[in-house]
């Protein structure tokens, strides 16, 4: 794999909270335009790994390289790093005091200094992209879960990120709303947005992922191309996990 294609690299990342070891020597390489799905049992450290990427949780050991630069060395500039790394959360976390379009406008205005007018245009454009242009002036508690999550995706896209991180984006949704969110994510992925997604949606993984990474007990146990992973070539633990979640 040529180095210039790599956008993100984790080198032997470990993380512990006090006595609890959550991640152990996790190494990972993500290429530009690639979509990677992280799976594994709950408590296996997937979310923590995601949070180490954008330094919301600083790694205890090891390093994170973004576009060839080590970003985990100096945590004071974490906010600058996060401008380029979009993140979507399980519980949406839309800003409750702002309506849909204002949620999208906030970061471009306050971080990038964009004018209110330009930010509003951008907000409406992105609401169109996630297929809810008509909900611009609705507040989070007036939107369905699926709509909230799509606004959250639009909010992350407003910073023109170079990579998107999704932390179980559909786990808090009612079943009938999962599809609309996954569709938006698939579209973005197909357009070439580099994506790292923690999810239990194996349908999405098959459809959108280039690679599947399987984690257990804070370690990366398998890292394989999607067809190989689902084609019975994954290791024993991964196979067992697959059979459990696919019933």
């Amino acid at each position: 794999m040529p180095a210039e294609d790599t956008i993100l690299e984790l080198v032997q990342v470990s993380k512990s909270f006090d006595d609890l070891q959550v991640l152990t020597d996790c190494s990972l390489r993500v290429k530009k335009r690639e979509t990677l799905v992280l799976i594994g049992p709950s408590g296996s450290g997937k979310s923590t790994l995601l949070r180490c990427i954008n330094l919301l949780e600083p790694p205890s050991k090891g390093s994170v390289l973004f576009e060839g630069r080590e970003i985990s060395g100096d945590l004071r500039h974490g906010d600058k790093v996060r401008r380029d790394i979009g993140m979507v959360f399980q519980n949406f976390e839309l800003f409750q005091h702002l309506n849909a379009v204002e949620n999208i406008m906030l970061a471009p205005m306050k971080v990038l200094g964009m004018s209110r007018h330009d930010a509003h245009d951008l907000g409406l454009e992105l609401l169109g992209k996630v297929h809810i242009p008509e909900r611009a002036d609705h507040f989070p508690d007036e939107l369905s879960g699926g709509q909230q999550q799509r606004v959250a995706i639009a909010r992350a896209l407003a910073m023109r990120p170079k990579i998107m991180l999704y932390d179980e984006p559909t786990s808090a949704l009612d079943p009938e709303m999962i599809r609309e969110v996954l569709d938006v994510m698939t579209e973005l992925s197909n357009e070439g947005m580099t994506t790292v997604c923690v999810t239990h949606e194996m349908g999405f993984a098959r459809r959108a992922a280039d690679r599947i990474v399987f984690m257990e007990d804070g370690r990366i146990l398998e890292d394989a191309a999607t067809e190989e992973f689902f084609g019975g070539k994954a290791n024993e633990r991964a196979q067992k996990f697959l059979s459990q979640i696919l019933h």
Binding site: N54, L56, G78, D79, K80, V81, R82, R83, D84, I85, G86, M87, F89, N91, E93, L94, F95, Q96, H97, L98, N99, L106, A107, K110, V111, D137, F139, A152, R155, A156, M159
Partner: protein
């Protein structure tokens, strides 16, 4: 009793001046109280032990002694250590320091009512901690904090009458002096009462306006012309009900 005399007192310069002093003491003490309270609330989140001890000591001291005690202490005891303030400023300092202790608790609970995930979401967008505080946490905390803060503000208007014991010419002292000079207690105190109620009413309207301004959905409703004076009055009435239990000082 004479209504003419009440009217005469109401329009007299000394009563108007007394009301002005009461208003001034209230507003200045509230301003300092809110600023100091905000700083204390932020300091409470600091994990550094000496800061914690300092803050806890402050709250213990000012919530554990009567305001009246604090006013008299600053006016009468500090000068023996060569720290001197005018009666007016002694009153303002005591009321501000006392108010800060209560405001700090209100603001702290407001800040902690904003879920951690909201801050994380702000940070994930590349916002700095300060930016997240200003644009994500404070606007949400403000809505939670405003009703109890409003009770404190109206409370302050009445508590400010305590400064009359150190001879600040506030509304109550003026009324009391006038009454004992003319032996017209009913008329003088009625005039003072009317001033107090007038000021309280103005405060209530201001608070209701601020609450409405902070309510994003109401803001949207106003843009389409659905809210107005009636909504403001309804808000005041519901606030008065909430405030009923809050008289424990």
């Amino acid at each position: 009793m004479s209504l003419d005399l009440v009217l005469q007192y109401l329009t007299s310069q000394s009563f108007a001046h007394g009301a002005w002093i009461t208003l001034l003491i209230t507003v200045v003490s509230l301003l300092f109280g809110v600023i100091a309270g905000f700083i204390i609330a932020l300091a409470q989140q600091v994990r550094f032990a000496p800061v914690k001890v300092l803050v806890t000591g402050y709250l213990w001291l000012f919530r554990g002694t009567p305001v009246l005690f604090q006013i008299i202490f600053i006016y009468n005891v500090l000068p023996s250590f060569d720290i001197r303030f005018s009666a007016f400023w002694s009153g303002v300092i005591a009321l501000s320091l006392n108010e800060a202790a209560y405001m700090a608790e209100i603001i702290r609970s407001g800040l902690s009512s904003v879920k951690k995930g909201q801050r994380t979401a702000g940070q994930a967008l590349g916002m700095t901690r300060l930016s997240v505080l200003r644009w994500v946490v404070l606007p949400q905390a403000a809505r939670i904090v405003l009703p109890p803060m409003g009770n404190q503000m109206i409370g302050m208007l009445k508590t400010s009458a305590l400064v009359s014991v150190i001879a600040v010419q506030d509304l109550l002292l003026v009324a009391n002096q006038t009454a004992s000079a003319d032996f017209r207690y009913f008329e003088a105190l009625t005039a003072a009462g009317i001033y107090y109620l007038g000021l309280t009413t103005i405060f209530m309207f201001l608070l209701a306006t601020m609450e409405a301004a902070l309510d994003p959905k109401l803001r949207r409703a106003r843009a389409t012309g659905a809210a107005g004076f009636g909504g403001l009055v309804r808000r005041i009435i519901s606030n008065t009900k909430k405030a009923g239990a809050d008289n424990a000082r």
